[in-house]
Subunit: 754 residues, 2 copies
């Protein structure tokens, strides 16, 4: 095992002090001279044809500088990035129809927000209402209203996977189980609402500051929707207050800010309200999941048949990708010798669902894990033992996906059983108390080129200086998850520097090296970490050359960087200061600065991801038999994220995941009426807060991922998966109520308890 | 001769529209949240010991956040950059003594400017006045007050040059002439007063926005005076409203902004008033010049003996470098087989003199040119003919300086004689009217490593994109002279792109490639132009490789970039779009962005400069015999700046030079009383305005400088030299008054006319 100096330590986050002191600048904090404030007019109907829009009154309101509708724009569709143009179904502003309550219809830019708001009320839109559908079953029923003309079935995407022979496998199984699960929509509920500020320079170039997870993708999509060249657009990501998948698409306000800045010659800023975020914001896909699994008597899995209907809302958004991934996630975690998947993405007249932490996995694995618990009971096998029997291990191949290059799943199961006193509690807990299990595997970024980029998936530029410092430039987007800190740690470790020796500049598409696909799919530690390692090793090769020459080293010597020095391995007394080595290297290169770029694109790693994380979580609950209220007493988590780069950061991810999983399982949901979201504030949208989160214990299972930087894998999304199934299992253990339709409400428990 | 598409054209300046519309952001336009405003307390005495400073009243004034004196600072000296530490004699704030009226004593930062100003009045400084000296003769007299303890002679620097045998040469001359000249101080009078804004981040790193010619030098010197690491400091140059040499040093307000930002945790901004600029700002060196020249009867120069006393004011500033350069300039332009120079830099109790456009040459060549005119008359040779006889030509060697690799001086002399009707007017003009000549040669940047930098003298990074655009990054500082435009033109020409295809980012020490020494010595076109060409050629080599492979070209083919396409030379129909070539090249490199860095450091070019400009100017005047008022009727200029990259920009330099030379010759001067500058506003400081500038004709003499980018040389400073001697010569021709002590005032003419 490598010994690390900085990697694996509890290094404070790069952004901690700035956020704690209030000096962190978010998009909405930026004020430019002459800046206009934008507001968006939204549809009050779930489904309607736009007959006519009259903006004249709004435009003549003093202080209003620009009013636009879809007709004013270049009318270029976007949605689901740009890989499959035929899935792009959304205009920045609606052209023909509106498809959900909150759909964007027009935009106003005025000298202040009050005037912009007043102007919205002066825009006259004549709608012709159309019948609407609000669930997948109604949407695919014959005669249902057609939401997009190009798609009479309302099924916009489907994906099939099949390997082995599932019919034969089921026939030969000793036990076959079929269930249908439903899961609901929840909000990413990032603390910073979406905001975008655009400035157009005199050459017509746009600079956009935006609260985004994907600066490079915004640059490209903004260019295509504005009909501009990509590199005439610069996207800068200021501090971002969370994303969770909700900020990984080009959105209306980004387009409008840029378009209106170009039109008016003045900077234009849009910042959404919390009400807009809840009313119309992207949300986790509600799904209906049919799952059939077969087992041998001894518990060996034989086959799985998974069919999922994704409720996509009014537009595809990132839904096609989620549809694809649901099938992938369904085949992960356990060994399925025979597997079939059919996913369908279905339009309804609700706010579009899209990516959210786990991106299909929380839904898909809720079904998997719950069904595993049902089967364990039926087979008379302890659920953890049943999992260990079928668990994936290092070297396993998932057909068409990947070979698993590191896996600590069995160790995690064993560890979480031990930590939680599983066997004992499973037997002895009194009625009303229960203990349950949920597991996960997740991807560490994608192998598939989802954005069809021409650039490497990740890049890093490292400059080193004779004063012993380094500058790291990366397009990676720190959205609060801490990648600026993690990437600095990786660089500091490679170069033997201290954290304070490194300046980082990130997420500015004009100034940081091309390119990076953004913060999603838990990709940054592996992808950009590898790019940083690549750049650092190129730097080291040059510095080592200079030092070897200067010290007249025997060719058998290797060198090390540590504590700000470079020296022959085993002879730390002998070397030179890091800055001296840089100065020598510059001298050797006619003074040219010592700068290198590193890149990483996963290759020869299958189709899905370069590395899989694994983990298991046990929850213990107490359920009040009178009220049905669930109190989670404690969580135990054992997980394998490979090398832990920053323990505090990983544990922070776990805490956030538990908070989010708790809400998904027990309290959060959108209350809808005829397509209208009724609970549009934090008071009514019952997200757990710090007081609601129970104590938690964690064990980091040590594995070393050969594809990851210094052995690391993802820790950001997988942990958001097991909490809901673990709670559902514990509630069943406590009450006899087996939840197959999230959330687990007191009403359902009272009705279902035995 | 090469055919250029963009080079040589009248391409509008990059900054033109921004400046014309007022959207250009200068340092003082930047406002940061919580920003404090700084003011500087200045000495009222020309020479005094600081006995005690009490800042307590000022510090307790509500709204004052920080008051500092020299005692609060790290007390690290600076001045004259960092090559010769023993010439550094200045602290950011005076420690022991003040040495001129306006010397910086303390600084205040407060929530607004009025409070800061009020606080200055509350600082109690006890001074012990000391005797002061105001001219070089008094200063070097025995028993004169000692201005710096380390330097009892008050002569801080001297420089000698000698080659040949001047004594023998004078002895063998047919005509020997000795004169003493004096030249006065003038102000660079840039329209934007100096300003600096510093912010300190939570990691203790400083960002400084400053109106400077030398971002990299400020970064380094700020680091050394703050005792910080260089790369913990980032210097950004916003738009700059002129420098002319007056903004090429680290100055008090830059230090104080940074130091006080670090101390208070709040941004701190200083902006000087015009009064401060005139009262205490850097100015062109007043000098006393003794010159002796020998000729053969036929006009052939035999020897020159030049002795110069520079009046440095209270500190060295850039004076040591000026002292060195005066000797160099004295040996340029004509062939001096024997040469001796002695320069002495002398302290006086006046505001320090420093660099200003021409940096020693306007003074030195005023003497050279006037003496040449005197000698021509004595020898009975036409002054232009005498010059042609002695003019340097391509291939000439200046001992210890350089071999001249291109020279259009003789052609310029011939051309200007023809344009102005010289021979005719010289004979026929009526009394009161006159025509005169002045010439120049100047450097195109320095070869000597004046800043002792470890980096190349210039650098450029070029990124090219598959959308057919390019991004040029350079630390070169556009201070209004237009280098952003010129460098873009050079890149556009090399890559065959249009100006609007190129984005430029310049002069940000953290984001643009290390390094560049700044805007001085007319260095940027040659130095950074060469770096741009180097980067562009590396890019082209890669693109040409991809295109040759794709088009399956015979190895004998060479390729060209033009009109956004890359094609085999002579077969423009055949090639591919520039963006396509970039895409191919990326494909060939695993998607890695196509980025290259270019560098230039002059080598094997002697000790002084890689390339010399040359030129001659004729002026025609009419002098009122009653009032002595000189009216300049017209200028004719023929000059050799090698390839003209941007004709408008070169002609703009000429117009500015004429305006500046006109002021130097006739109207500008500091009115001083006991070390105090009395004329501290534009009304009393009689700088010529647009209405004062006469018509002008110009001829660009074509040469191709092999060391310059596309054959170019300097055009920014040399042109500022000939105007004063040309006017002086014309005044002599008109009136019989031969000026040897600038400026040429009506009083002197009336007293001196014959």
């Amino acid at each position: 095992m490598e010994e690390f100096s900085i990697v694996g330590k509890n290094v404070p986050r790069n952004d901690g002090r700035a956020k704690a002191t209030g000096s962190a600048i978010y998009t909405d904090d930026i004020k430019l001279p002459g800046m206009l404030h934008g507001r968006i007019l939204r549809s009050p109907f779930p489904h309607a044809r736009i007959v006519h829009i009259d903006t004249s009154k709004a435009a003549s309101l003093p202080g209003v500088k620009c009013v636009i509708t879809g007709e004013d724009t270049p009318k270029i569709k976007y949605g689901n990035w740009r890989l499959f143009p035929d899935t792009q179904d959304e205009y920045p502003l609606a052209i023909d129809k509106v498809r959900f309550i909150g759909d964007e219809v027009a935009a106003v830019a005025a000298v202040d927000l009050d005037i912009a708001e007043e102007a919205l009320g002066l825009i006259q839109v004549d709608y012709e209402e159309l019948p609407a559908v609000f669930d997948v079953d109604s949407s695919i029923r014959k005669g249902a209203p057609i939401i997009h003309d190009y798609c009479p079935s309302n099924i916009s995407v489907n994906r099939k996977i099949q390997y082995g022979n599932i019919e034969q496998a089921f026939a030969e199984s000793d036990y076959v189980r079929e269930d249908t699960f439903t899961v609901h929509a929840v909000s990413p509920a990032y603390l910073e609402p979406c905001a975008a500020l655009a400035q157009c320079d005199l050459d017509g170039r746009i600079t956009l500051w935006t609260s985004t997870q994907v600066p490079y993708i915004i640059q490209c999509l903004l260019a295509s929707t504005l009909n501009m060249r990509e590199n005439d657009i610069r996207v800068i990501k200021p501090y971002v207050g969370g994303g969770f998948g909700g900020k990984m698409e080009l959105r209306t306000w980004e387009f409008c800010a840029a378009f209106m800045a170009k039109k008016t010659g003045r900077p234009v800023k849009f910042t959404l309200t919390r009400e807009e975020e809840f009313l119309a914001g992207r949300r986790r896909h509600p799904m209906k999941l049919y799952s059939k699994v077969g087992f041998k008597k001894d518990g060996t899995l034989t086959a799985k048949d998974l069919r999922i209907h994704l409720d996509g809302g009014g537009y595809n958004a990132m839904g096609p990708t989620a549809t694809f991934l649901c099938g992938t996630f369904g085949a992960m975690l356990y060994r399925y010798p025979n597997y079939r998947f059919m996913g369908e993405h279905i339009y309804t007249n609700k706010p579009p669902a899209s990516a959210m932490r786990g991106f299909g996995a929380p839904q898909s694995l809720f079904a998997t894990e719950t069904q595993m618990n049902i089967a364990a009971e039926a087979l008379g096998i302890d659920p953890i033992d049943l999992r260990i029997k079928n668990a994936q291990v290092t070297g396993d191949k998932i057909p068409d996906v990947a070979t698993i290059s590191s896996c600590g799943f069995i160790e995690a199961l064993q560890k979480v059983a031990e930590m939680s006193g599983w066997k004992e509690k499973r037997k002895t807990l009194k009625k009303g108390c229960g203990i349950g299990i949920g597991c996960y595997s997740f991807i560490s970024g994608g192998v598939f080129n989802w954005f069809n980029t021409q650039y490497p998936f990740s890049a890093a530029e490292v400059k080193v200086f004779d004063d012993g410092t380094a500058h790291l430039l990366t397009m990676a987007a720190d959205i609060g998850q801490g990648c600026d800190t993690v990437l600095k740690q990786i660089l500091a470790e490679e170069l033997g520097l201290k954290m304070e020796d490194i300046r980082i500049t990130s997420a500015d598409t004009s100034m940081t090296p091309q390119a990076d696909l953004g913060a999603w799919g838990s990709r940054l530690t592996v992808m950009n970490g590898n790019a940083v390692v690549d750049a650092a090793r190129k730097i080291k090769a040059r510095l080592f050359g200079s030092v070897s020459a200067r010290l007249n080293l025997n060719v058998i010597h290797d060198l090390a960087c540590k504590d700000g020095r470079i020296f022959p391995k085993g002879r730390p007394d002998k070397g030179v200061l890091f800055g001296e080595a840089v100065a020598m290297t510059q001298k050797a290169s006619r003074g040219e600065p010592v700068v290198e770029r590193g890149y990483y694109t996963p290759r020869n790693k299958g189709l899905v991801t370069p590395a899989f994380s694994f983990g298991a979580q046990v929850s213990e609950v107490e359920v009040d038999p009178e009220t049905g209220i669930v109190q989670v007493k404690k969580f135990w988590t054992a997980h394998d994220c490979g090398t832990v780069i920053n323990q505090m950061a990983v544990e922070g991810q776990l805490e956030g995941s538990i908070q989010m999983g708790l809400g998904y399982a027990l309290s959060e949901q959108f209350v809808m009426d005829g397509g209208k979201t009724l609970n549009t504030n934090f008071l009514d949208y019952k997200m757990p807060n710090a007081m609601d989160v129970p104590p938690s214990e964690v064990s980091h299972i040590h594995t070393y991922e050969p594809e990851g930087p210094m052995g690391a894998k993802e820790a950001g999304e997988g942990l958001a998966i097991p909490t809901a199934p673990a709670i559902a299992d514990a509630v069943y253990h406590a009450t006899g109520y087996r939840c197959k339709d999230l959330p687990i409400t007191p009403e359902k428990i009272l009705a279902g308890q035995s």
